[in-house]
């Protein structure tokens, strides 16, 4: 009985392997080209990293390994954790981005030139901002803005990061940055190039209302 089952299962495995290997060969331009260029989604990668890479062991800091090492390591984890390949690729993209932007010229802007470069933007709409935040930023900044994992700063500290002027925050959100010693980069537009400057102004408005609610809470206490 068990013998039969074993042979059957082994046979089925082999047959499916051959079938799939065959189709992999047939779509060879696709698969070999895929080694040369894949559609990767940085935001989804950041989220998947936060979701999956701390499930079995602690999340390791993106700055722990270099680009090539992350490539190999995430392939390793893809097998160990049975992650779908496209998800693993997104995670790779995110980790590689975080690592190499460290060496790039990506320091945060702390001062702006005279004049407000974003003066033309309409006032931010916090409700619209909430929506955008929950689509893109929540992966790293967390539902409460306090950071979803190590390496992401708490934005909800009263007179903390958000007390910087709008134009500086906007410039940092738009261009992306990584401060000295930070294990991880804030990607340009949170990794989502579809967000416009105006969208980011909406999100900023949302973040500010969250902080105000917090200070409001404090005062009531």
């Amino acid at each position: 009985m068990i013998k039969m089952f074993g042979i059957l299962a082994g046979g089925a495995l082999l047959a499916s392997t051959v079938a799939i290997a065959q189709s992999a060969v047939q779509s060879a331009p696709d698969s070999s080209a895929s080694a040369l260029g894949k559609d990767v989604d940085l935001t989804r990668g950041a989220k998947a990293w936060a979701d999956h890479c701390g499930r079995c062991h602690n999340l390791r800091s993106p700055s722990e390994l270099g680009e090539n090492a992350w490539d190999v390591s995430v392939t390793h984890m893809r097998t160990r954790a049975s992650l779908p390949g496209d998800l693993a690729d997104d995670i790779k993209a995110f980790l590689m981005y975080s690592v190499q932007s460290k060496t790039a010229d990506a320091a945060p802007i702390e001062k702006t030139a005279a004049g407000d470069a974003y003066a033309h933007l309409k006032p931010g709409d916090a409700e619209r901002g909430r929506e955008l935040y929950s689509q893109t930023c929540v992966a790293c900044h967390g539902a409460n803005g306090e950071g979803a994992f190590e390496g992401v700063p708490n934005l909800m500290i009263v007179s903390g990061l958000l007390s910087k002027p709008d134009e500086i925050l906007l410039a940092n959100m738009i261009n992306g940055f990584q401060s000295a010693g930070s294990p991880m980069a804030m990607p340009p537009r949170g990794g989502n190039p579809d967000l416009t400057d105006q969208d980011l102004a909406h999100v900023l408005a949302f973040l500010r209302t969250q902080i105000e609610e917090k200070t409001g809470d404090r005062r009531q206490k």
């Binding site: 299962a9 080694a35 935001t43 779908p84 261009n175 989502n192």
Partner: protein, 519 residues
């Protein structure tokens, strides 16, 4: 001036409607093409007609600046209007996302030579196979963070290019001190250390070779060397990886996922999950595994066929990959995992196979006439596990049950081949760890993680094993995380040996200190 330049980053190009149809269609020629730009990212949407047999039109989406491959998003076997409409819709979505679209062609130089894409049936008016849904949903994919920045561009190229073979050296090491106190007897204490180097070699994104050795110094000061695993992973499909060689058994959680000391929350295995236990450690054979996600929900599977268990020296069952199979029957094992959300996982595991009795001639039966021939017996295992790993919590529980039918075999202390009755082994544990990082930002306290575990191991049908291994145990420990994979821990365990013969100590308090480093 400066301000204006900043805003011109969203280059304004007139959005014109899809207009005239280019004359003289060559195969695969773009009949109608729009170019959409934002910053210096330019994409094109092309409606191709007269391309393949049986296909009236296709919509090709190209993002050469982003290093992406061309995609065929839609095709239709009879209606060019369908493609025009889809192209227009995509252009509108890009426009809404800040792109500016105009009629035109990408210049040849900007094109990537790879005119690849999905084959697949020309299903009428459906997205082409290989079309990335998330790309359609967001209109413009979140491909690469702002390609206008050189760093953004590099990400992509590095992910895609680089050398064909990449390697990575990792692994872990630990040093443990343990002292046991069993009441009246003298306290015993010992040191152990292990070093587990892990070598990884990856060829493109097709093959990964993983090999891990375990070099350990045991409590007698003797050095042992063993191969933990040595496997080749073939990535056949996003949802299917084929593993060949010696690999960690996919049954249950502990062996495959938690046993490295920098991952484990305590200093040793739960009762029944380590040596002499019920949990399969490794397998020699082939395994198919993978996962499928639906939004945040993930389903994972692993199915292995291998040499399976053997009869232990003491008469129990060893679930460890030996060199040769003890019989021609393969064991089949596997696990199915379900994660409704990433921080919650439930899993079920099984193994079916059989073991063959051995005839140890060294202990020849005194009466050859009475000798029994060794027989084989079925072994079956099932198990269930659950994990909750949200925020500061790390909660796990696991249960495994093994039965082995009666078997004729010789074993340590037997008088030739004897009959061993049915054997039933059962082990389970539940463990909760909580990191204080969630409730304090004190520099020392936030690295502290208390943990408790309760576990039981029951053995029925083999007294020698029961006396040795059956136990109930409570472990309480504290982890101090110097880094995400470097930990110092202290553990106190209260062990209750449930089947010790009278006269032997039936309980023990054990203290362990461990330093573990995953690198």
């Amino acid at each position: 001036m400066d301000r204006q330049r900043r805003f011109l980053r969203l280059r304004c190009l007139l959005l014109t409607s899809v207009g005239g149809i280019a004359a003289g269609a060559t195969p695969s020629a773009a009949e109608v093409s729009q170019v959409c730009s934002a910053w210096n990212v330019t994409r094109s949407i092309e409606v191709l007609t007269a391309s393949d047999e049986g296909v009236a039109c296709q919509v090709r989406y190209r993002k050469p600046d982003e290093g992406a491959l061309d995609q065929i998003l839609w095709r239709s076997s009879n209606s060019v209007a369908f493609c025009d409409q889809k192209a227009q819709e995509l252009a509108s979505r890009l426009t809404a996302a800040g792109f500016r679209c105009r009629e035109g062609n990408l210049t040849e130089t900007a094109q990537r030579s790879s005119d690849l894409v999905s084959t697949g049936g020309a299903d009428d008016e459906t997205p082409a196979e290989g079309f990335d849904q998330r790309d359609a949903d967001s209109g413009a994919s979140a491909l690469l963070a702002e390609s206008s920045r050189p760093s953004g561009r590099r990400v992509y190229q590095r992910l895609s290019g680089g050398s064909d073979t990449k390697s990575h050296f990792a692994g872990y090491a630990d040093a443990t001190f343990a002292a046991a106190d069993s009441g009246d007897e003298a306290t015993t204490s010992f040191f152990t250390a292990t070093f587990n180097p892990l070598f990884l070699f990856q060829y493109k994104d097709i093959v990964l070779l993983e090999a891990e050795a375990e070099i350990s110094v045991d409590d007698d000061g003797e050095t042992e060397f063993a191969i933990e695993y040595a496997q080749v992973d073939l990535f056949l499909h996003d949802n299917l990886t084929l593993v060949l060689g010696r690999f960690l058994s996919p049954v249950g959680l502990f062996q495959e996922r938690l046993h490295p000391s920098w991952i484990n929350r305590l200093a040793d295995a739960p009762p029944g999950f380590g040596h002499d236990g019920v949990q399969p450690a490794s397998e020699l054979g082939v395994m198919a595994r993978g996962g499928v996600s639906f939004g945040r929900t993930l389903i994972t599977y692993a199915l292995a066929v291998g040499n399976g268990p053997t009869v232990a020296h003491e008469g129990g069952v060893v679930f460890e990959a030996g060199g040769a199979d003890d019989n021609s029957n393969k064991a089949v094992s596997g696990r199915l995992g379900f994660l409704p959300v990433p921080y919650l996982e439930v899993g079920g595991s099984f193994l079916v196979g059989d073991v063959s009795g051995v005839d140890d001639e060294m202990e020849a039966s005194p009466d050859p006439m009475a000798a029994l021939a060794p027989s084989s017996a079925n072994v079956s295992l099932w198990g269930a596990d659950a994990s909750y790993t949200r925020g500061p919590w790390d909660v796990r529980a696991e249960y495994l049950s093994v039965t082995r039918d009666a078997i004729a075999t010789s074993f340590a202390g037997s008088n030739g081949v004897e009959i061993l009755p049915d054997l039933k082994l059962e082990a389970w544990y539940a463990q909760v760890a909580y990191s204080l990082s969630d409730i304090t930002s004190h520099p020392v306290l936030q690295k502290v993680e208390p943990v408790v575990r309760y576990g039981e191991y029951k053995v029925n049908g083999l007294d020698e094993l029961a006396e040795e291994a059956a136990e109930k145990r409570v472990d309480v420990g504290v982890n101090y995380w110097l880094a995400p994979s470097i930990v110092a821990r202290g553990v106190v365990g209260w062990r209750d040996f449930t089947a010790r013969p009278a006269g032997e100590p039936s309980s023990e308090t054990r203290y362990m200190l461990q330093f573990a480093y995953g690198f």
